[in-house]
C-alpha cells in the first residue's frame, strides 16, 4: 500500500503561507481522484485542493483558520491496491491540473464554465469539483456547516432579532468566526426565506420592511387629512358636464391669443363659473368654525388649487378670484403652481383659501371623492375630459364630456344646496357665454 502525501501547494503570487478555510474530508474518508479535499485562502483568492488519487485519508494536519506554510504536508492518502511501503510526495493541486482558483466574486465566465462542466459526459468527479465554487461564490450562501447537535452561536442582539422574526437560529448558517451567526447572516437568511417553500421560479418574496418617518410636509398633510375626514361628514356629488362648447371657445381664445397673455386651461373657466355660482349661494364659499359654532361667509372668493409637488400636496391660493378676469385667473394659477413646485411660494400664498379645486388633469379619472380642505365647506374635483357618445334624442353624437366630483360639508350644506350649486356650475360651463355675462 502506498501513501500519498498532499502538501500545501504554492498558490502563486509569491505567498509563502495560506489560511486553511475548508476541510472537505476527515481522517478515514474515502476519496476519489479530483475530489476537493480542502480549500485554502490567500489575500486574494480561495484555492481548492483536489485529490490526485483514489484512496483513504489517513492523516490530516491543521484546523480551519490555521495559517499554514507552503509545502507543509496537510494530508496523507493511502492508495488502495498498490505495492507496499513507498511514500510519494505530492503537492496538492500538482496532479497534472492547475489548482482551481476561485476569486472572491466569480467572473461570469467562471460561472458559465462551472455550469458547462456539469453537462460534460458522465464524470462524477468533475461535477463534484465544479459545483462548490458556484455555491460558495454567492454571498452568504453558507458558512461552515454546523456539526450535528451543535448549538448555534450568535450574540444576544442577533438572537433577539431572530426571536422576534420567528426564526430558529439552528436553521441559519453562520459565516462569522467559529461559525458565529452575524446580523448579515440573519439578513441573508430572512431574504432567502421563501413564503411558500417554492424558490424555484426565481420569484422571491421580499420581506424587507423600510421604515419611513412621516415628517415635514407629509406629516402636515397627514394631520390635515385626518382632521378633515374625522371632523367633516362629507357628501360627494358627481355630475357630468358637456364641455364641447367650452372647449370650442377655449381653443378659439387660445388661438387668437394676444402676446403676453397666458394660455387658458379649463381651470380659469371653472374658477369664473364658481365665482358666479357662489354669488347666488354664498354659503358654499365659507369657513365653518365648528368649535365656535359659527359659519363665516366670505365676500372674497379665494380659491385654493391643489397642486402636486415633489414633496407632496400643497394648495396655493388664488386670492379674490371675483376681482380677476379669466386671463388674470389663468396667470395667477400658472404663477402659483410654479412657485409651489419650486418651493418658492410664500406662506400667504399657501393659506387663506375659502374654497378649493382639486384637479389631476389627464389623471383625473371618472370620479373622485375629494377631501374638503378644513375648515372650508366645499371642494370641487375636476375629472378627466374625454370624448364620449351622447344621445341627443335621435342619435349618438360625440361630445367632450367631463365629470365634476364635488364634496360638501353635510353639517352645513344640505344635499339640495350642493346639487343646486353643481347644477349651476354645469349650466354655466355648458353655455360658457353665461360665464362672461355681467349682471
Amino acid at each position: 500500500m502506498a501513501e500519498k502525501l498532499i502538501k500545501l501547494p504554492d498558490v502563486g503570487e509569491g505567498v509563502a503561507e495560506a489560511e486553511l478555510v475548508e476541510w472537505h474530508v476527515n481522517v478515514g474518508d474515502l476519496v476519489r481522484e479530483d475530489m476537493v479535499l480542502a480549500a485554502v485562502m490567500t489575500g486574494k483568492a480561495t484555492v481548492e485542493i483536489p485529490s490526485p488519487v483514489d484512496g483513504e485519508v489517513t492523516f490530516r494536519y491543521g484546523e480551519i483558520g490555521d495559517v499554514i506554510a507552503t509545502g507543509t504536508v496537510i494530508l496523507k492518502i493511502r492508495i488502495a491496491g498498490e505495492g507496499a511501503g513507498d511514500e510519494e510526495e505530492i503537492e496538492g493541486g500538482d496532479s497534472g491540473e492547475e489548482p482551481r482558483v476561485k476569486p472572491a466574486i466569480p467572473p461570469v465566465a467562471a460561472l458559465e464554465q462551472a455550469s458547462e462542466k456539469k453537462v460534460e459526459p458522465l464524470k462524477p468527479k468533475a461535477e463534484i469539483a465544479a459545483s462548490p465554487p458556484v455555491a460558495k461564490a454567492l454571498p452568504h450562501a453558507a458558512g461552515a456547516p454546523r456539526a450535528e447537535g451543535e448549538k448555534p452561536l450568535a450574540p444576544p442582539a442577533v438572537r433577539l432579532r431572530a426571536k422576534e422574526a420567528g426564526i430558529d437560529l439552528r436553521q441559519v448558517p453562520g459565516t462569522g468566526p467559529a461559525g458565529r451567526i452575524t446580523h448579515e447572516d440573519l439578513d441573508a437568511f430572512l431574504n432567502s426565506q421563501p413564503g411558500s417553500g417554492a424558490i424555484a421560479a426565481g420569484l422571491q418574496p421580499n420581506k424587507a420592511v423600510q421604515e419611513v418617518k412621516v415628517v415635514g410636509l407629509r406629516r402636515r398633510i397627514a394631520e390635515k387629512m385626518a382632521l378633515s375626514k374625522s371632523r367633516i361628514p362629507h357628501i360627494t356629488y358627481v355630475e357630468e358636464i358637456d364641455m364641447t362648447a367650452l372647449e370650442e371657445l377655449r381653443t378659439r381664445m387660445n388661438g387668437t391669443q394676444k402676446p403676453g397673455r397666458p394660455k387658458l386651461t379649463i381651470l380659469p373657466f371653472l374658477m369664473r363659473a364658481m365665482v358666479k355660482a357662489i354669488a347666488e349661494q354664498p354659503g358654499i364659499n365659507a369657513l365653518y368654525d365648528d368649535e365656535a359654532g359659527i359659519i363665516r361667509h366670505y365676500g372674497g372668493v379665494h380659491i385654493g388649487i391643489a397642486a402636486q409637488t415633489p414633496s407632496g400636496l400643497v394648495v396655493p391660493v388664488v386670492k379674490h378670484a371675483e376681482a380677476r378676469d379669466i386671463f388674470d385667473c389663468a396667470h395667477e394659477v400658472a404663477r402659483l403652481s410654479d412657485a409651489a413646485k419650486n418651493g418658492t411660494a410664500l406662506r400667504e400664498e399657501l393659506s387663506g383659501s375659502t374654497i378649493t379645486i382639486s384637479s389631476l388633469g389627464a389623471m383625473g379619472g371618472i370620479v373622485s371623492t375629494p377631501v374638503i380642505n378644513h375648515p372650508e365647506v366645499a371642494i370641487i374635483g375636476v375629472n378627466k375630459l374625454a370624448v364620449r357618445p351622447h344621445w341627443d334624442g335621435a342619435q349618438f353624437v360625440p361630445r367632450k364630456m367631463m365629470n365634476l366630483s364635488s364634496s360638501f360639508d353635510h353639517r352645513v350644506i344640505d344635499g339640495w344646496d350642493a346639487a343646486t350649486f353643481v347644477q349651476r356650475l354645469k349650466a354655466l360651463m355648458e353655455t360658457p357665454a353665461l360665464i362672461f355675462v355681467e349682471e
Partner: protein, 472 residues
C-alpha cells in the same frame, strides 16, 4: 375591600419579581405586585447587599488591624483599631434602606401598584392578600410566582435555638447580618459560598471561626485550583476548617457544637454563635400551591424556557425555579416574563450565568470549567495567567490568584472563563460579555485591555491559550 383586576400580578418583590413588575409597567401592562416585607427581597434586605457591606467593613477593619500589628508592607501604621459593629450594622441598614426605597420608587414610576401583605392563591387566576386592613382579592390574567428561597434549617440546630440575652445562639445568614457584637467564637456549619463569605468576614472582625463541612472540600461548586487561594487565606486568618466532618448537634449544656470527623473522632467546638449555612431551599409553601396543579422539578417549580409553569397564565421566576439561585438570573427571567406577557416573543437563550463568590480572594466563574468542558466531550485549550505577573495586582498587594480561559481546541470559541483574585468580581462583566457574544480566543487577545489594570490578565490568559502569552 374592592377586588382588583389586572393583567399581571407578581407575587414577591425580590429581584425577579420587582424587575418583572418594573419592565411590565414600562411596557404599559397593568401590573400589581404583592410583597409581605420590604421590596428587594432576600437580595437587598438580608442577602447580597448587606453581606457585601459587612464583608467590605470587615476587610477594611482587618487591614487596619494588620497595620496596627506592624504587618503593613506599604509602611502604614495605626493604633488600636476597634470596630463598633452596631454602627457598622446601622451603616449597612442605611444602604439597604436606600435601595429598598429606590425599588419602591422605581415600581411607582413604572406605574405598578404595590400591595403589602401575604399572598395566597385561591385558584389559577385569583389571589387573596392578607393586608393590614383586611383581605384584598386580586384577579389577574397572568400571575408570576417569585417567592424566592429561604435558608435550610438543620433539625438538630433549629434557627433561633437556645435564646439568650444576646439573641439566639443558632443563627442563619439573616441573623449573622444583624449581629451587633462580634461573637468571640463563631462556628459555621457548611463551607459553601455563604458560609465562607460570612466566616471570613467574622474572622476579620476578630471572631475565632471554625468551619465545619461534611464534604471533603470547601466550595464544592468550584475546582480546587480556584478554591486554593481561599483556603490559604482562611489558614492565614486562623480559621479552622474541618472537612469531612458531620455535625451531631449541641452539647447538653448548650456550650458547644458537637461534630464527628471523617476518622470517627468526636469534636467539641465551643461557640458563642452557630451560623448554619447549609444551603437554601425554594419557598414552595405558604402561598397556596396546594390550590394549583403545578408540576415540580425536584424541590423546585418546573418551568420551561419561557418561565411558564405547567398551568396556563402562571409563570415562575427566580430561586423558586431552581439552580443557580442567583439574583441576576431571577432579574433576567423577570424581565423576560414581563416582555412575554406584553406580547413580545422571548425565550431563555443565555449562554452563561456568571457566578461570583465574595470570599477573600473573590472567585468568578462564567461558562464551563475545564472539567465540565471535557465532560461535555470537548477538546479544549486552557490559558491561565497569574496575578503575580500583573503589575496592577502587585500595586494593590493582591498578587494571589489568576484568570483562566477555557476554549474549544478546534475553533477557539471561548467556553468558560474563571478567575480568583482580589476585586475580580468586577471582571465578570468582561467574562460574561465575551461568552455571550461568542468570542474566540483571538477576539479577547485582540482587544486592547487598559494598562495597568487587572483586566490585562484576561487578555494574557487568552494569549496563553493561543500559545504566545507576552508577560509570562
Amino acid at each position: 375591600m374592592k377586588e382588583i383586576t389586572c393583567k399581571l400580578l407578581v407575587i414577591g418583590a425580590g429581584p425577579g419579581g420587582y424587575v418583572c413588575a418594573i419592565r411590565a409597567g414600562q411596557l404599559g401592562v397593568d401590573t400589581v405586585i404583592v410583597e409581605m416585607a420590604k421590596p428587594g427581597g432576600t437580595c437587598l434586605n438580608i442577602g447580597c447587599i448587606p453581606s457585601k457591606a459587612i464583608i467590605h467593613a470587615a476587610d477594611d477593619f482587618a487591614k487596619t488591624v494588620a497595620m496596627a500589628a506592624g504587618k503593613n508592607a506599604m509602611g502604614i501604621k495605626a493604633d488600636n483599631p476597634a470596630i463598633d459593629l452596631a454602627k457598622t450594622m446601622a451603616w449597612k441598614d442605611g444602604i439597604t434602606g436606600r435601595l429598598t426605597l429606590g425599588v419602591a420608587g422605581l415600581l411607582k414610576k413604572a406605574g405598578v401598584k404595590i400591595v403589602v401583605g401575604r399572598a395566597k392563591f385561591r385558584d389559577g387566576k385569583t389571589v387573596a392578600v392578607e393586608t393590614e386592613t383586611g383581605e384584598q382579592v386580586i384577579r389577574a390574567e397572568n400571575i408570576v410566582i417569585a417567592t424566592g428561597s429561604a435558608p435550610v434549617e438543620l433539625p438538630m440546630l433549629p434557627f433561633g435555638g437556645l435564646a439568650s440575652p444576646s439573641g439566639a445562639k443558632v443563627i442563619s445568614s439573616t441573623g449573622a447580618l444583624s449581629l451587633t457584637e462580634v461573637p468571640a467564637r463563631l462556628a459555621v456549619v457548611g463551607a459553601g459560598y455563604i458560609g465562607l463569605e460570612l466566616g471570613l468576614a467574622f474572622a476579620k472582625l476578630g471572631a475565632k471561626v471554625t468551619i465545619v463541612e461534611a464534604l471533603d472540600r470547601i466550595l464544592p461548586l468550584y475546582d480546587t485550583q480556584l478554591t486554593q487561594p481561599v483556603a490559604k487565606r482562611l489558614a492565614a486568618l486562623g480559621v479552622e476548617v474541618l472537612l469531612g466532618t458531620k455535625v451531631k448537634g449541641m452539647s447538653s449544656n448548650g456550650e458547644a457544637l458537637l461534630a464527628e470527623t471523617g476518622s470517627g473522632e468526636e469534636r467539641r467546638i465551643a461557640a458563642d454563635k452557630i451560623l448554619v449555612t447549609v444551603g437554601r431551599k425554594p419557598v414552595t409553601e405558604g402561598w397556596g400551591r396546594e390550590e394549583l396543579e403545578l408540576d415540580m422539578d425536584g424541590r423546585f417549580l418546573r418551568i420551561d424556557e419561557q418561565c411558564r409553569t405547567s398551568m396556563r397564565g402562571i409563570y415562575a421566576v427566580g430561586d423558586v425555579t431552581g439552580e443557580p439561585m442567583l439574583a441576576h438570573r431571577a432579574m433576567v427571567q423577570g424581565e423576560m416574563v414581563a416582555e412575554i406577557v406584553s406580547g413580545k416573543r422571548r425565550a431563555w437563550d443565555k449562554r452563561a450565568i456568571p457566578a461570583v463568590c465574595f470570599t477573600d480572594p473573590e472567585i468568578v466563574s462564567v461558562g464551563l470549567s475545564p472539567d465540565e468542558a471535557k465532560a461535555a466531550g470537548r477538546e479544549i485549550k486552557i490559558g491561565q495567567f497569574p496575578f503575580s505577573a500583573n503589575g496592577r495586582a502587585m500595586t494593590l498587594s493582591a498578587e494571589e490568584g489568576f484568570v483562566r480561559v477555557v476554549a474549544r481546541a478546534d475553533n477557539h470559541l471561548v467556553l468558560g472563563i474563571q478567575g480568583v483574585g482580589a476585586g475580580i468580581s468586577e471582571l465578570s462583566a468582561a467574562f460574561s460579555l465575551a461568552i455571550e457574544m461568542g468570542a474566540r480566543l483571538e477576539d479577547i487577545a485582540g482587544t486592547i485591555h487598559a494598562h495597568p489594570t487587572q483586566s490585562e490578565a484576561f487578555a494574557e490568559a487568552a494569549l496563553k491559550a493561543l500559545g504566545h502569552a507576552l508577560h509570562i
